[in-house]
């Protein structure tokens, strides 16, 4: 029973992105996704600072600091890309024009509430950036994160204790242990790493889980 590595989570997410989709990748764990997009799939990446169809980081020495992503890192632009101002960029995000927004998170609730912008600690410098905008508007909001915190606390919870980013938005969760989908009935486990039982997964999860099989879906092995 081996939890996925961060790169394996990214690989699982990358495989789930439909061919031809327009996607925003948040900063943090989602940064790893582009490295794993299958070669036969055309995925158009958007970044909040006003660019569509980002390409990879350029070779050292060829960075253009006017061509960066939301993480302020140098990137490239692919043929068919475009630049636009922040107003249009956020209209694209908030207006439901992106297929998927992939975000990191501190916590997700069974109701799809998302907490990913602030730990709420007293000495934390508050900073929201585009997090709240990204969490509202895309047709699907996916979260990728470790299943538990470094202190071993569940991150999939009945109710978020960290400050909320948005309510009832997350549709799918990819962790190092499982893939979960939010349904009317609740959180359904669709994939689980081989050797881990649903009962054992539930022990590491605060929100109640349904097996894919219970929901009439298969419960498949999670592979990175």
């Amino acid at each position: 029973m081996t939890p996925l590595t961060r790169d394996q989570i990214a690989r699982r997410v990358a495989r789930a992105l439909p061919d031809g989709s327009f996607v925003n990748l948040g900063i943090g764990l989602p940064d790893l996704v582009p490295n794993h997009i299958p070669a036969d799939r055309e995925i158009i990446l958007h970044s909040e600072n006003g660019i569509l169809h980002l390409g990879p980081r350029p070779p050292a020495g060829q960075e253009d600091w006017n061509l960066i992503n939301a993480g302020k890192q140098p990137v490239t632009i692919r043929p068919g890309g475009s630049y636009f101002d922040s107003a249009l960029s956020f209209a694209i995000m908030r207006g439901g024009h992106l297929d998927i927004s992939v975000l990191g998170a501190f916590q997700v609730s069974g109701d799809g509430d998302l907490a990913n912008w602030s730990t709420g600690a007293a000495d934390d410098i508050p900073a929201v950036g585009g997090a709240m905008d990204l969490a509202v508007g895309a047709r699907e909001i996916w979260v990728m994160m470790e299943h538990s915190s470094r202190q071993g606390q569940p991150r999939i919870v009945r109710r978020c204790t960290y400050p909320l980013t948005a309510r009832a938005v997350v549709t799918r969760i990819f962790t190092n242990l499982a893939v979960l989908v939010r349904t009317e009935a609740g959180l359904v486990v669709e994939e689980i790493i081989p050797g881990l039982t649903l009962a054992a997964l539930q022990q590491q999860t605060d929100a109640p889980l349904l097996a894919g099989t219970q929901a009439g879906r298969g419960l498949a092995p999670l592979e990175g």
């Binding site: 031809g20 068919g80 475009s82 209209a91 694209i92 439901g96």
Partner: protein, 228 residues
């Protein structure tokens, strides 16, 4: 990259496929500039009925919105300027005087801003335009920062039909001169966005700085003169 995305369709019938009776259509153009005449003809030919049409103008007697009006295809027009020089003989005038068409008259800047509001995922906005006039009837008036404003609500379309200049297979668009007008905003405000273009160009031809409507907003592109 497999190049799997291709917004181009080769026939007008494909360009308008799935648009049904009762649809709300955002129709681009100001006067004669920016009206997608080929798409207009295709909708006329398809004989769609009971349409709600959002258009700055009400048809000029040219083969524009006028032919939908003449064909009795339009139930309601949302418009800033339904009159034209050809008014006295226009279909709109006849239909309006006969009470056979519903008109929602909207100041032009409010019209475009309501579509932008829809396209940007916002719930409404306050504008000073129209305060104290007949067009404020039934609207919430609110004083903000010492000035009166009207609450205006988003205006969504099922479909936007646009005229643009160049397009590539990702759906990126440029426009030609003042034919730009409502196109870039309508492209944000409809569930299905169809553009009729002068030219379809290879990917990488359009300058990323000069793309006006990014492809993420566009579903189908048809070239002027394509077969029905």
């Amino acid at each position: 990259m497999s190049g799997s995305i291709n917004r181009r369709v080769t026939r007008y019938a494909e360009a308008i496929a799935g648009i049904g009776d009762g649809a709300t259509i955002l129709l681009g153009g100001f006067g004669g500039a920016g009206v997608p005449l080929g798409l207009v003809a295709a909708i006329a030919e398809a004989g769609l009925r009971d349409l709600t049409v959002v258009s700055n103008n009400g048809g000029s007697g040219e083969p524009d919105l006028s032919i939908w009006l003449a064909g009795g295809q339009v139930r309601k027009l949302i418009c800033s300027y339904p009159k034209s020089k050809a008014s006295s003989t226009s279909s709109f005038t006849d239909l309006y005087r006969a009470g056979k068409i519903e008109l929602e008259l909207v100041p032009q800047g409010t019209l475009v801003e309501r579509m932008r509001c829809a396209g940007a995922g916002l719930g409404g906005f306050y504008t000073p335009v129209g305060v104290g006039t007949a067009l404020a009837q039934g609207k919430e008036v609110r004083n903000l920062g010492g000035r009166d404003y009207l609450l205006e609500l988003p205006l969504h379309g099922d479909v936007a039909l646009l005229r643009a200049h160049q397009a590539d297979r990702l759906g990126n668009l440029t426009y030609d001169k003042t034919a730009r007008n409502f196109g870039p905003v309508m492209a944000t405000a409809a569930a299905l966005v169809v553009a009729e273009v002068d030219a379809f160009v290879a990917l990488g031809t359009l300058d990323p700085e000069a793309v006006v409507t990014p492809g993420v907003l566009v579903d189908r592109v048809v070239t002027v003169g394509a077969p029905r």
